[in-house]
């Protein structure tokens, strides 16, 4: 998924969570979303366009997102994505399960070090 070895592959579901979290702040179009994630993660995470658009379609199909006609920052017509109530609920569930997973991974790594 990564273009070069600096960036690790995201694990399944991670991209969706970031998209949901970002869009929860404010509805955005595709390019803005990519930039937003890149900025917020201090360039640590780079979202691949090749994954982003299929992911957006998947989330639209699941009903987590809605899309509407809008204009980009440059005034060009594009589609703005917005989180739905179902999307927020999914996000919250996923965050809880991620936190559990991180805690688990952290503990295992700690034991391994000891």
């Amino acid at each position: 998924m990564a273009k070069n070895s600096e960036h690790r592959d995201l694990f399944p579901g991670a991209l969706e969570i970031m998209i949901l979290k970002s869009l929860r702040l404010k509805p955005m179009h595709g390019y803005a979303l990519v930039k937003h994630i890149k900025q917020v993660s201090d360039n640590l995470l780079q979202v691949e366009e090749g994954s982003l658009y299929p992911a957006l379609q998947r989330m639209l199909r699941e009903g987590w997102l809605e899309s509407e006609t809008g204009v980009s920052a440059k005034g060009r017509p594009t589609r703005i994505y917005r989180v739905t109530q179902a999307g927020i609920q999914h996000l919250e569930e996923e965050v809880v399960s991620f936190e559990k997973m991180f805690a688990g991974i952290t503990r295992v790594l700690a034991v391994a070090q000891a």
Binding site: G50, P54, Q57, R61, T78
Partner: protein
């Protein structure tokens, strides 16, 4: 619903996606421009960074797609493209499939509507036909409906049975309705109580008959059939409560039955209560059909057992009058043999329909083998492509799927066309189908029929596709690529699958031709039977009924009939006129009863019962029934009530040894009645159709002293069929003249069932001729398809072996030998096919036995001639391409290397 929404939204989703992606790339490019990169380069870089737009779009779209389906759709696109390139192949296959599947669908629809669908009554599986077996009653129980039921039987059964929820009896009839415009003869069903309750169909308007309607002293009522209600009352609900004149009796309309309601198998205009008078009932007469609704969970066998106990009760409770033995009927050995009502309605037509179904099925298979051959050849020409694909790693399943997609697509397209063919075929079938085919009006192309089409389309598609799949999807890449490049003749293996198809085709064609020929010989045999009347096309018949309510006096009735004879005879072009209670093959048996021959002793003490008919002077001469001995009745005999009878030749032979010996001999019906003198003997008549033996018949004069009443009473015939010998039979103008002649005698008499004897005769042969036509069509189609199949295979193998032929010629082979080589291979295949076909035909024809007449299912002539015809056709079909082989120029053939 959601899937539908998705499909509808897809176009919009795809557009949204494109807009988003385009904007994304442009925004990135703009950013790069702002960073100082030239516009053109920035755009390129943005695009490169973004990656493969098409692939990404495709992947994003896949989210909305049903992947498997869409990849099949892609395969389909390919199939269509390929078919478009070979329109000749596509048209041939589609046409063959459309006709094959269509014919099958049409016949299946008939089978479905007639044999499979339940009768249009609620809970119809609980309906039973009360059929009685009476082996001792001989001819009388010879009908498909067994021994009919007498009113006293009905009363006994309905009062004492424990297994029926309701039961009733009915009989079809006709009635004159007068007072409404022209007098009209209408079809009636006379029904007892319990009939409507049994069938359970609610009236469209008004009410059912109730007990008071069945009271002979109660109010006279009538119910209307839907058609009559529409015709005469314009569907006006206020018809209920009005009165009409039925057979000169005023009856109140109490109800109307809904559209499509039939009295078991009869259409009717009026329902009239039988209104039995309990006090006057005797054991006889037997003329009613019984139907019953079983109690839930009661079987027919239980009902049989229940009612067989009631036969004794019946004989104990009633009699045929003083001096008669009520237990006489024990000699008839009456036992219930109840059947489901559906079985009764459908009757023995099943055998015809299944034969027709099997026939079109076989034609379909033969057609499919031709198509399979075409597909094989086609797959062969793609063999290299397929091998290369296999070599490049296409899985066996992937290739098989593509081949199958093609054949199933062909099958389905053929199926769509087939629905049109089936629709047309069904109209044709119902038009040429025998008029006595039960439930003909119910025949339609319904969901089950369409489902059958779909099933057959997919099945034939899979079947057709599986042959090339089995041959070519094996993916032996190296061998096939290799052999295709070699210049040798086709390998044995490849040829073999086509050979098998030819053998199958020949075998199936043989079965069809044998059955067609047997049917033709049956038909010829039936046509050669002397029916007992002559020159049927010039014999006009019609029914006249003089109701006894209108003319109660038998003398007056007979004189009226006599003057109708005179008036009709006066019409120009009429040679002679007569009438009888029934003419042959109309399925009307005027009466059956015992007849004692003087001086003869009978086993069991009672003579067998005989068919009676009542005829006017001149009837035999008009009908063309020849006098074998003695003389015809005269009007003086009739009016003088002279105790004379005429008997049929078979009765004379049986009783006195010969026709001439019968003259002057005496017979009588009952011991307390005077002897009757036999004054004439006429030839035997095939009363029940040419395929049934001619029964012995006693012919009474049109007016007699009734044998059934203790006091002397005169009996006239109220319902008679007139016959007219005329060259103008069936002519429109002539019908008008006949009508005027009848109305000159009494203007209240309608003419009914006006038709020529030829119509009646053809109708009695309808089933045979229908089967014959179907089999003849199927047989000739099979022959044609078989010839095409053999021609195709030989011609293909000639074209494949051109090089081999060239080498053979170059090495000095004789042309005639080469020709013979190909013809011989065709004949070998044919011989194998014939051998298999003859064996299958011999086995299958046993199933057709009931349809054959005067011919053995193993008729040697048929079994010799059909293989000869097939062999000759095969020789011809292979000779044409073989000649081409011999014409090969060895130089050309070898230069192609």
């Amino acid at each position: 619903m959601q899937i539908l929404n998705q499909l509808l939204n897809r176009r919009r989703r795809y557009d949204d996606l494109s807009v988003s992606i385009e904007e994304h790339i442009e925004e990135r490019a703009e950013e790069l421009v702002e960073e100082g990169i030239p516009r053109k380069e920035a755009e390129q870089r943005a695009r490169r960074e973004f990656g493969n737009v098409t692939l990404m779009k495709e992947r994003s779209r896949e989210v909305w797609q049903w992947a498997a389906l869409e990849s099949i759709l892609a395969d389909l696109k390919l199939v269509f493209r390929r078919l478009k390139k070979s329109p000749g192949f596509a048209a041939t296959v589609l046409l063959t499939l459309a006709i094959g599947i269509g014919a099958n669908t049409a016949v299946f629809s008939v089978v479905n509507s007639v044999l499979l669908k339940s009768l249009p009554y609620p809970d119809s599986d609980r309906l039973a036909a009360l059929i009685l077996n009476a082996p001792g009653a001989q001819g009388m129980a010879d009908f498909s409906s067994g021994l009919r039921i007498s009113p006293s039987m009905y009363l006994t059964f309905s009062e004492h049975n424990r297994t029926f929820q309701s039961l009733g009896v009915w009989t079809p009839g006709t009635a004159n309705v007068t007072g409404v415009a022209q007098p009209e003869e209408v079809k009636t069903a006379l029904i007892s109580g319990g009939v409507l309750e049994t069938l359970g169909v609610a009236p469209r308007a008004g009410r059912w008959f109730i007990d008071s309607d069945q009271d002979p002293r109660g109010a006279k009522t009538v119910m209307l059939g839907y058609g009559y209600w529409q015709r005469r009352f314009g569907g006006d609900k206020s018809a209920v409560g009005r009165t009409i004149q039925v057979d000169a009796e005023t009856r109140e309309i109490v109800g109307v039955m809904p559209r499509g309601f039939k009295m078991v198998n009869q259409d009717f205009d009026l329902l009239i209560p039988l209104a039995f008078d309990r006090t006057n009932q005797k054991l006889a007469p037997f003329f009613l059909e019984g139907i019953g609704r079983l109690k839930p969970a009661v079987t027919l066998a239980q009902a049989d057992a229940d009612v067989s106990r009631l036969i004794g009760v019946w004989m104990d409770s009633w009699s045929n009058g003083p001096g008669t033995n009520p237990h006489f009927y024990e000699t008839w050995r009456i036992t219930p043999a109840f059947r489901s009502l559906k079985q009764r309605v459908v009757g023995d037509v099943g055998s015809v329909l299944w034969v027709v179904m099997g026939t079109v099925g076989l034609v379909m298979l033969i057609a499919c083998t031709n198509v399979a051959n075409l597909l094989l050849v086609r797959a062969e020409s793609r063999q290299q492509e397929l091998s290369i694909r296999a070599a490049l790693g296409a899985g066996r399943i992937r290739i098989a799927r593509e081949l199958l997609t093609e054949s199933v697509a062909l099958g389905l397209m053929g199926g769509v066309l087939a629905v049109g063919v089936a629709y047309g075929g069904l109209r044709l079938l119902t038009a040429i189908g025998p008029a006595d085919l039960p439930r003909l009006s119910e025949v339609s192309l319904d969901l089950r029929g369409l489902g059958f089409t779909l099933l057959l389309s997919v099945f034939s598609g899979l079947l057709l596709g599986s042959i090339p799949v089995l041959r070519y999807a094996r993916g032996k890449a190296s061998t096939t690529i290799g052999s295709a490049n070699r210049t040798a003749s086709a390998g044995r293996v490849r040829q073999r699958s086509r050979d098998v198809l030819v053998v199958a085709q020949v075998a199936m064609a043989l079965v069809l031709l044998v059955s067609a020929l047997l049917m033709i010989r049956t038909f010829v045999a039936l046509r050669n039977v002397e029916p007992g009347f002559a020159d049927a096309p010039h014999l006009q018949t019609m029914h006249i009924w003089i109701p006894d309510q209108m003319v109660p006096d038998p003398q007056v009735t007979t004189r009226m009939e006599n003057s109708i004879v005179d008036k009709l005879a006066a019409i120009p072009g009429v040679a002679s006129v007569g009438f009888a209670s029934a003419v042959p093959m109309e399925d009307i048996d005027p009466n059956w009863d015992i007849m004692w021959v003087e001086g003869k002793h009978y086993e069991g003490g009672e003579p067998p019962i005989r068919l009676f008919n009542y005829v006017s002077p001149g009837y035999f001469g008009t009908a063309g029934t020849r006098m074998r001995a003695g003389r015809d009745f005269t009007w003086d005999d009739v009016y003088g009530l002279r105790p004379n009878v005429i008997v049929s030749e078979s009765f004379a032979r049986e009783s006195w040894g010969s026709a001439s010996a019968a003259i002057g001999k005496r017979v009588r019906q009952f011991s307390n009645k005077p002897w009757l003198e036999v004054i004439g003997v006429v030839e035997d008549v095939r009363v029940h159709g040419v395929d049934q033996d001619a029964p012995p018949v006693i012919y009474w004069p049109a007016m007699i002293e009734s044998p059934y009443t203790p006091q002397p009473t005169i009996d006239a015939r109220h319902a008679v069929t007139f016959v007219l010998r005329t060259s103008r039979a069936g002519n429109e103008g002539f019908l008008g003249e006949m009508q005027r002649a009848v109305w000159a005698v009494n203007s209240n008499l309608p003419l009914a069932a006006v038709r020529t004897m030829q119509d009646i005769y053809s109708q009695s042969l309808a089933r045979t001729s229908f089967t014959l036509v179907m089999l003849a069509i199927a047989g000739s189609m099979a022959l044609a398809l078989g010839i095409i199949g053999i021609y195709g295979v030989i011609s293909y193998s000639v074209s494949q072996r051109t090089r081999e032929i060239g080498i053979r010629l170059a090495l000095g082979a004789q042309k005639s030998e080469l020709k013979w080589m190909f013809v011989r291979s065709a004949l070998t295949l044919t011989a194998v096919g014939v051998a298999i076909g003859v064996m299958s035909a011999a086995a299958l024809m046993q199933l057709m036995k009931s349809l054959l007449f005067g011919i053995s299912p193993l008729d040697p002539l048929t079994y010799i001639s059909v293989p000869l015809v097939l062999a000759a056709s095969a020789a011809l079909a292979s000779y044409l391409p073989a000649r081409r082989a011999a014409a090969v120029d060895p130089v050309d053939a070898l230069r192609a290397e």
